[in-house]
């Protein structure tokens, strides 16, 4: 009678061990290879037995998509933060440069030869009657002499 009980217990224990082994074999494996989906590392448990995949294909696709979205949001936040930092530092640099330039301009004495600039922009302006009338006669004499020399060379 006791032998029969022991054998019954042994059989049950063996059965439990077998079922545990089966369960451990059926348990899904967490992404051990770092496989990525659309550029994002998949974090969900997507590796399951072929039998289970076949039974719940739609659910698995949803998992895959959700995991990619979450991972994508995380990556976006990081990229956004880094870009914002670079934009802020660029803005600070520009502001500093602008203030430095304004300070330099403030300390620089600017002299413009407006008459010379006008004559270079409009070369004929130098020989306009209005302009010539306001020049001293000695200067007109020099200009006339230069023109005479140019004409003599041309001949």
């Amino acid at each position: 009678m006791q032998i029969g009980k022991i054998s019954l217990h042994t059989a049950k224990a063996a059965e439990q061990t077998a079922s545990q082994n089966n369960n451990s074999q059926a348990k899904p494996v967490t992404n051990p290879f770092g496989v990525s989906f659309k550029g994002n590392v998949i974090q969900a448990d997507v590796f399951q037995s072929t039998a289970q995949k076949a039974s719940s294909g739609i659910v698995e696709k949803g998992k895959l998509f959700g995991s990619a979205v979450v991972s994508g949001i995380n990556n976006f936040n990081e990229a956004f933060k880094s870009r914002m930092n670079s934009i802020v530092s660029f803005g600070k640099k520009v502001t500093t440069n602008v203030f430095d330039t304004i300070e330099k301009i403030g300390n620089t004495e600017i002299k413009l030869d407006m008459e010379g600039i006008k004559n270079k922009l409009f070369p004929d302006r130098k020989y306009s009657v209005k302009n010539l009338t306001n020049r001293p006669v000695d200067e007109l004499k020099t200009m006339w002499a230069d023109l005479n020399q140019e004409q003599a060379k041309a001949v």
């Binding site: 004929d124 020989y127 306009s128 009657v129 010539l132 009338t133 020049r135 001293p136 006669v137 000695d138 007109l140 004499k141 200009m143 006339w144 002499a145 023109l147 005479n148 140019e150 004409q151 041309a154």
Partner: protein, 122 residues
Amino acid sequence: MDNNKKIKNIIQALGEHKDSQAAIELLTEFGTNSPDDEIRELTAQTLIRKNTHESLRVVLISQGKGINDLSARVAMASINELLSLKDKTEAVKILDDTIKMHSNEDVKNTARSVRALMTFSS
């Protein structure tokens, strides 16, 4: 703008210049001795328009200048300008003195002719 046009502008500017004495000297030195008829013509007209004793003397009594220029075009333009003067007093006075006292007969004869024209035109 070519050089001739630039020189013409200088002559025109000298005609309106405040420093009249210096302007007449420059016109006499460069303008009346120019080899270009057009420049000499414009110079003579400018000097006559100034209507001062100094400017008129240059074109009325100088041999080869103004009314005595060898170019008929320059001489005729000078005479026309003299005839169109509103106040001919100074010009008539200089012409009379020239007819009386100038050493050169050609200059005297030209002055006499111009004086007659001025009498008839006024």
